[in-house]
Amino acid sequence: MKGMTVIVKKTTQLMAGLIFIYGIYIILHGHLTPGGGFAGGVIIAGSYILLILAYGSDFLNLVREESGSTMYENLAILIIILMACSGLIFGTKIFFFNWLPRGTAGELLSAGMLPLYNIFIGMEVAASILTIFLALVIFKERSRK
C-alpha cells in the first residue's frame, strides 16, 4: 500500500495524536460521562489506522507491530479475567465483585474496580481491531509479491 500526498500526511501527523488522547479521555472518564472501554478502544485503533493509511505500509514495520498488538490483546483479556477472579478472594466471594473502595461519586478516582475494567477493555478492543486491520494489510502485501 502506497502513502498519500503531503497534505494528507501533514494533516494526519497533526490529528493522530489528538485522536489518540481523545480515546484515552473517553476510556478514563467511562464511569462519569457517556463512552467507556469499547468506544475509547475503537477510537484509539482508529488513530493508528489513520496513520497507516496515510503513510503507507513502508512507514511502519507492520509485522513487528502486529506481533506487539497481539501480545497486548491477549495480556489485556488475561488481566480482565484475573481481576474478575480477584473478587473470589476478597470480600464476599463473588465473580466480578467490586471490592475496591467506592470513593465519592463524580470524581475521577471513584467507583472501585470500574475504571480498571474500562482501561483493560479499552486496551483489548484497540489491540484486537488494530490486529485485524494489520493482518489484512500484511496479507495483501504478501500476496502481491
Binding site: 473517553i26 467511562g30 464511569h31 462519569l32 460521562t33 457517556p34 463512552g35 467507556g36 469499547f38 468506544a39 475503537v42 477510537i43 485503533a45 482508529g46 489506522i49 493509511l53 497481539t70 490483546e73 491477549n74 483479556i77 480482565i80 479475567i81 474478575a84 465473580f95 466480578f96 467490586n98 467506592r102 470513593g103 461519586a105 463524580g106 471513584s110 467507583a111 472501585g112 474496580m113 470500574l114 475494567y117 474500562n118 477493555i121 483489548e124 478492543v125 484486537s128 481491531i129 490486529t131 485485524i132 486491520f133 493482518a135 489484512l136 500484511i138 496479507f139 495483501k140 504478501r142 500476496s143
Partner: protein, 175 residues
C-alpha cells in the same frame, strides 16, 4: 419523535435496498453506510449517547476498511444468469416471508406500546445502580458490575475473532 424516527428508518431501508441493487460496488458500500449513520441518529433521538458513540466510530472504521477493499479489487459486481437453484431459493424466501408476516401480525397485538413497557429488572437497575456501584454513568455500572459476564463474553468473542482472522490469513499467505 416517532415521525422523525419513521423518516430516518425509511431512509435506512432505502439505503439498504439501493446497496443490494447497485452495480458499482463503491456506491453499494457508501449506501450501506447510510444504514449505520441513520442508526446513530436513531440512538441520539432515543437518548442513548453511549451506543451512539460506539456505533459512529465502528461504522466509520468499517466503512474505511470496506472502501479500501473495494478500491483495491474490481468495482464491478459479477453478474450471472439465474438458474434452477436461484428460483428455488426465491420461492423459499417468499414462503418464509409470508410465515414471518403472519406470526408478526399475530404477535403485534400483545406487544407494549413503543417506549412505554419496561422489563422487570429495569427498575431495580435504575434505582440501585448508583449506590451499589458508585458509578455516575449508569450504563458503565450495569455492563461492568451487574452484567460483568456479558462484558467478559464480548471481550472473549473479540479475541476469538482475531484468532480466526490470523489463522485464515496466515494459512493462505504461506501456501
Amino acid at each position: 419523535m416517532e415521525a422523525a424516527l419513521s423518516v430516518i428508518i425509511g431512509f435506512m431501508i432505502l439505503g439498504a435496498l439501493y446497496a443490494i441493487h447497485a452495480r458499482d460496488l463503491l456506491s453499494a458500500v457508501i449506501a450501506g453506510g447510510i444504514v449505520g449513520y441513520g442508526l446513530v441518529i436513531c440512538f441520539l433521538l432515543l437518548q442513548a449517547p453511549d451506543l451512539a458513540i460506539v456505533q459512529i466510530v465502528v461504522e466509520t472504521i468499517t466503512l474505511i476498511i470496506m472502501v479500501a477493499v473495494v478500491l483495491d479489487s474490481s468495482r464491478e459486481e459479477r453478474y450471472s444468469k439465474p438458474d434452477k437453484q436461484a428460483y428455488l431459493n426465491a420461492v423459499t424466501g417468499i414462503l418464509i416471508l409470508i410465515v414471518l408476516f403472519y406470526f408478526l401480525k399475530a404477535a403485534a397485538g400483545t406487544l407494549d406500546h413503543f417506549g412505554e413497557g419496561t422489563l422487570r429488572m429495569a427498575g431495580p437497575y435504575i434505582e440501585g445502580a448508583h449506590e451499589k456501584t458508585g458509578s455516575v454513568n449508569l450504563v458503565t455500572g450495569v455492563i461492568f458490575d451487574f452484567r460483568g459476564y456479558d462484558t467478559l463474553g464480548e471481550a472473549t468473542v473479540l479475541v476469538t475473532a482475531v484468532l480466526g482472522v490470523l489463522t485464515i490469513l496466515r494459512l493462505k499467505g504461506k501456501k
